[in-house]
């Protein structure tokens, strides 16, 4: 871990909030009893807002970015004023007021647009890869900007939190994994909170590879408590904390040919692309596999790609 400035313990949090019908559907209805296992839509938004406010209140220098991942695009809901100043100049800084008000307003506008679209977005999975890439770009920009102004901000001060409810879209496997590897390289921790009924293999792998925390709350109704307890501490403080660790990580990969989730497949000996069936040449690097010799492709268990 990079050395820290003892005086400054602020950090940057980028929250990727999935705004997809799958997430809304995995939550309980407004009329359902306010049991600890049920989380209504209103209380979901409410609890997330409280968490974001808490984060900002912990340290006045903390920076926050909220990105909404919709069915086909991602949208920035909120950016801390200081980030605006650094990246886009002072003219936009005036727009920042109360964080939760701004997030709510933006979210409202976004949902109006989405609700006006015909057909809903059951056919379009949320753009997790796009949102992750966008978040990484923002983090990179903030860090480079800071480094440029002499702040000496080292990597390891930024963190990503993904709030997701829809099942994994295997067609996004390659781009999501690339984003995860990029995050691993720039030492950005990816935390994940899964609200759907099943574990997300993408998020499990993301948290595993970047040393983050993956959590699927048992009592969804108490989401705020989970967020505050598990995801509030920064990467440095975590070395002193005992956080929930999963008993296992779903390392299944999606094949490059049909985007199917597989746990046994063929791996290209040159570029390590994964295929679900024996192919004559690798579609990624173009290597031709000759049949007569010892098979270049060996069927083996697909493990972590790190």
């Amino acid at each position: 871990m990079a050395p820290f400035d003892e005086e400054d313990d602020s950090f940057l949090l980028v929250v990727i909030l999935e705004t997809h019908e799958d997430l809304w559907s995995s939550l309980a209805g407004e009329s359902q009893s306010a049991d600890i296992g049920n989380l209504s839509l209103t209380s979901f938004i409410q609890q997330v807002l409280v968490f974001l406010n808490t984060f900002l209140a912990i340290n006045e220098a903390n920076k926050l970015v909220v990105i909404a991942a919709c069915g086909d695009h991602s949208d920035i809901l909120y950016t801390t004023a200081s980030l605006h100043r650094e990246s886009q100049g002072p003219k936009k800084a005036a727009s920042s007021g109360n964080a939760s008000e701004e997030i709510l307003r933006k979210l409202h506008t976004l949902l109006q647009e989405e609700a006006a679209r015909p057909g809903g977005d059951s056919a379009r999975p949320a753009v997790l890869a796009g949102a992750l890439s966008r978040a990484l770009c923002l983090i990179n920009k903030a860090q480079v900007g800071n480094g440029g102004t002499g702040g000496g901000r080292a990597p390891g001060r930024a963190r990503l939190l993904v709030l997701k409810g829809s099942p994994d879209a295997t067609e996004q496997y390659i781009s999501v994994m690339n984003a995860i590897f990029a995050a691993q390289k720039v030492e950005v921790v990816i935390d994940a909170c899964m609200l759907g009924a099943h574990d997300s293999a993408f998020l499990q792998q993301a948290a595993h590879l970047t040393d983050g925390v993956y959590l699927r709350p048992k009592h969804k109704g108490a989401l705020l408590q989970y967020l505050l307890t598990v995801f509030c501490g920064d990467a440095f403080s975590r070395s002193f904390l005992e956080l929930p660790r999963p008993a296992g990580v779903d390392f299944r990969a999606a094949c490059f040919c049909h985007r199917r989730a597989i746990d046994l497949g063929y791996v290209c000996s040159v570029c390590l692309s994964i295929f679900c069936e024996n192919v004559t040449d690798c579609s990624t690097c173009g290597t031709a596999f000759r049949a007569g010799r010892t098979p270049a492709l060996k069927r083996k268990a697909v493990g972590p790609l790190s």
């Binding site: 209380s43 938004i45 409280v50 609700a115 059951s122």
Partner: protein
Amino acid sequence: MDGSMSVLVKRVKYIVSKELKVPGVLTVTETQMCWAPHNPTQCQPIYADIKSIPDSLQRAKGKPLLKVPVPNRALVFEFESEVDRDQAVDVITPILKEAQRKGKAPVAEAERPPSGLQGPQAALKQKLLQEDRDLQQLYNQLVSGGILSEAEFWKGRQNLLKEALRGSKDARQQAGFKTAMISEQTGEGGSRRVTLSLTPEIVQQLFAEKPHLHRAYTAMVPEKLSEKEFWERYFNYEVARKAKRQGKGTGDEPEDPYKEFKDEELDFREAQKRLQFVDATVNLAADYFDRDARPSEAEAPDARSMIRDINKHAAVVLEGVPTPGLGADGGPAKRPPTSGEHSSGRLVLDDLRKPWSAGFAELRIQDPKRCYESAADAATKSAATGHRRTHADALHATQALCQAGIASPPLSSHAAEAALADIAALCRGAGGHQWDALQAASGPAQANLSPQMQAVLREVCLTANELLRHFWATFPLSSPTREARALRLKKALADQYDRTTAMQESSQGIERVHITQLLKPLRLALDTALAKHDREVDLKRAHDRATSGSIAIETA
């Protein structure tokens, strides 16, 4: 263990191999010899029927060892001293002799082969047991332990037996029907008195060749005719018919006593149906038969019936019967098959086909947690997917929030407490030093356990799986026998469950984590089985109560 008084209790070590000696307690009662380990994780307890032990116990010279020959193997126990051993032998030998003497009295016991294996394939079974150590272990534990009966144990292993039969030296081609037509055989002698001995196979063959006979049999026996009368009538007719054909008979063409059951159309349809499943290019008999089955005007009715008889006979011979040894006892019993047996008898000769290879998929559980939680997930999911929400719903929620603002407090303290407890459990459960140890130990869980532990785990899993297989086969609990068997198996399963619990609790540190993880699927399976039994019993009880209630109302 049964309720009889124990006559001997000694602390002995059971010698599994040269290196491995497991300390335990040997208990001998008048009917059973039992050895149980002090530490249940080290070895399975051993039960042996006193009657199955010959009274020749072998003592080792100079060492406090005792060899007890039980079916299929010998148990070697190490006593604390030679004096100790000799005392024990003095107590056990009279019991064994007494048991041997008693055991000889009932004929059934005496006829039992020395190995304890029964049935026509005892030698084959013996060979299988010797070749497969796992199978032997299972056999010793379940059959010798009295949990399963001999027949129950081998019932699920018919394919193994068949395979062995095929592979063994005395592999015979599966017996088909004799090609000689029965009506020819029975008429020998020429005298008026014809002696017949009907075996179930002959009856089966007759029914297959003459469907109308079967119809007559099911309709008339035993209501109108006794079984003997039925066959007497039929063979009187056959003998007379044969005599007539040979020109010896006098008078008119004899009348088929079961003529009314003949149905040409039905027979023809059946033959057609059968033809669909048979390769017509191979099965000429079926082809000819079908051509001739329809009454043709050109031929004389007598010749026609003869052709049909021969073709039908050929068809039945080609279709074959199952080897008597594998199912029925094969003895010459005059026991006509029921209609169900008849249909099962229409088997195609197995050795003319490729052996059936069972397409089993390997069970791979990479993350036991997922397997463990999937059941709970299914329940919550069905509740959650009741209604699909759209962006419009989310819009309403944000609007409401814009107007009302954030509630204070946003979360009830009760919910927060539950969440905190959950997080604490998550941190404790898989976290801490155990997690680090798991991370540090590379490779699969199996690689980090001692070979001895692995062997024990394997044994536990094999035993439990075998028991589970028999357990699930007892459902539905439709008869008292099935209920009793289910109860007996449930007890055995509960024992295995306690054993896994004991194993988990007695292990320490990283080994405990690995053992827990490996045993999770097994425990889940056991949980499911036990829950199923409880549910089934409750249902039955409720049903019984309901029916008895309705009877009470009727009588009132």
